[in-house]
Amino acid sequence: MDNKLRPTKKLSHEESWGYDRSIIDYIQRAAAHGLYEIRGLGAKRRLPHFDDLVFLGASMSRYPLEGYREKCTTKTMLGTRFAKKPIALEIPITIAGMSFGALSAHVKDALGRAATEMGTSTTTGDGGMTLEERASSKILVYQCLPSRYGFNPDDLRKANAIEVVIGQGAKPGGGGMLLGQKVNPRVAKMRTLPEGVDQRSACRHPDWTGPDDLAIKIRELREITDWEKPIYVKVGATRTFNDVKLAIHSGADVVVVDGMQGGTAATQTCFIEHVGIPTLAALRQAVDALEDMNMKGTVQLIVSGGIRTGADVAKALAMGADAVSIGQGVLVALGCNSESWIHDGEHISAVEGYETIGAAPGFCHHCHTGQCPVGITTQDAVLEQRLQPEVGARRVKNYLKTLNMELTTIARACGKQNVHHLEREDLVALTIEAAAMAHIPLAGTNWIPGAMNAL
């Protein structure tokens, strides 16, 4: 038959749902390297989130406040249950625990300066407290982690609050990880590790095993610090209702709940994407636990994991959080995933730097490599110069200021003089999933899927 007469075959471009390009890439990478992927930041998949809620602004039945003129307070007290010296914050937005080691010393310094200017707190991380962050942070929360790297009673006494870390939203049930390229001489010395070792932190505390032990451990920390400092307990979001109750039982002043969107400096991708529950669901369970034990207002709740905007903060507060904690958002404010870094007021392209680590601005999650092209998640002497503390502090301060302005804008629109007066009743959900997880009615209905007394 003449070739010209044969009908041309159409190429099929039907992508499989189960074996889409990212799954094919995943399997082929696994086959080539025999190794799971490790990366930074948090869950990337679409999850029910604060975006799926909206506020019911004031109208006929509620009375709004003047957006620009009337007072709307954001002051926040943490640690009022047992501590002699509770923490008084100007804004309900704090900076989450991130280690020196994961971040450069410049970044820790910048976060401290920005937080201090905004009247809020910063938090240490695995590996201990640096002189820079203690000097620049007016209010510094000192983490007591399973690894106890760099943990010592002198720093404990220097802290303003203590956070016992049980887990992290990105990897509940897992310990920290810091690959060898970030374990430079200073990091190694602080953590008592050989230089360049691939550090995998313990996932369990060495000196206690359950909530009854934790109660004694918390009392030890109180005794050592003469009952001055608030003690936080941080959990990764999984069985949050029970975990929060146990944290309260153990004597926590403040419970920190970190949802699965929370970030990490380095963790297996399978862990980040497949272990833990979304922040939205965890927050509601945590509030249920506080209410169930009649502890709302006595024990404060901080929620973290994917808080990015002032609207997110407002929704978290309305659902019952006392404050939020932000990690990835402040890194992005510093320039994470930006196309450029700043030197003497000039923007200098970082695109080539992203290419060398196989990433691109907007998509990068290569914190684990230590080769951060914008100088944030690095211990490299050259790269870390790309983020100067003064510039970083200004950017983070601007970001926090913006969030706080957005928060008060929403609170005023809902008729609140105090952001802590935002309430669940001010919210409705846009999706059935969010309505079910947050126990907030679907917009335009009074339907809360799964609620016992649903109409």
Binding site: A32, H33, G34, L35, S147, R148, F151, N152, P153, D154, L156, R157, L179, G180, R191, T192, L193, P194, V197, D198, R200, A202, P206, D207, W208, D213, I216, K217, R219, E220, E223, I224, T225, D226, W227
Partner: protein, 232 residues
């Protein structure tokens, strides 16, 4: 006021600890005895001065936790986490110790005359531990630096995921943990054991350094996969 006694039957624990933190130095107290401890938790925690403390009985969890400079003697047994995260000084348990003895200690010396429970010296970061009796399973788990002298036996998984800490065992080792191995003794090891036995006190003089085995890290877990980036 060189020597002072607190009776825990009539004085609150917080009062005793606060005194030790805030007032004992200015009052020139050199020695403090604590009577009727009755297994109370958190006795003499967070000390930061060269004072001598004697606990006349059994103590609960975290006795002498995070000790700095002080010399604390417990004339009885202790619960979990004795001398946890000790930085310096000396803690002496004349009886038995429970789990996690000397956990994450950065410095100082912990002496236990009797046996220690599970996870003795877990996460050790530079402290020294001398145990007259045996230690339970998972002892020296992820120990990073420091030395342990065990005059009795060791349980399962001794030295699992060990870093640079070194363990000396006189008795039988039920099993070694991942990456822990027995290595040949050197003169430095013999001298270290001799020194630690002397520091342990006269009851340790019945042991001879050459009777011990050296357990250290094979360092095969230092890098999480040497085959990384292999393409077949």
């Amino acid at each position: 006021m060189e020597c002072l006694n607190f009776d825990l039957a009539t004085t609150s624990l917080t009062e005793v600890n606060t005194f030790l933190h805030q007032k004992s130095a200015s009052k020139g107290v050199r020695k403090v005895t604590i009577s009727n401890p009755n297994g109370a938790h958190n006795i003499a925690v967070g000390l930061n001065l060269p004072v001598e403390v004697e606990i006349a009985g059994h103590a609960g969890y975290y006795a002498a936790g995070m000790n700095q400079l002080a010399s604390v003697t417990i004339m009885g047994s202790v619960g979990t986490g004795v001398a946890e995260n000790m930085m310096s000084g000396r803690v002496h348990v004349q009886g038995f110790a429970s789990n996690g003895a000397g956990a994450s200690a950065h410095g100082g010396l912990l002496v236990i005359d009797g046996d220690a429970g599970l996870r003795c010296g877990i996460s050790l970061k530079g402290g020294d531990i001398v145990v007259g009796g045996s230690v339970g399973s998972f002892s020296a788990f992820m120990a990073q630096a420091g030395r342990m002298v065990i005059c009795g036996d060791a349980g399962d998984a001794l030295g699992d995921s060990l870093y640079e800490a070194v363990i000396y065992v006189k008795g039988r080792i039920k099993s070694l943990g991942a990456d822990a191995r027995e290595e040949a003794m050197t003169d430095t090891d013999l001298a270290a054991i001799g020194e630690l036995l002397v520091q342990g006190g006269p009851t340790f003089s019945i042991h001879k350094p050459e009777e011990f085995k050296r357990i250290a890290s094979a360092r095969a877990l230092y890098h999480w996969n040497v085959d990384a980036d292999q393409e077949y």
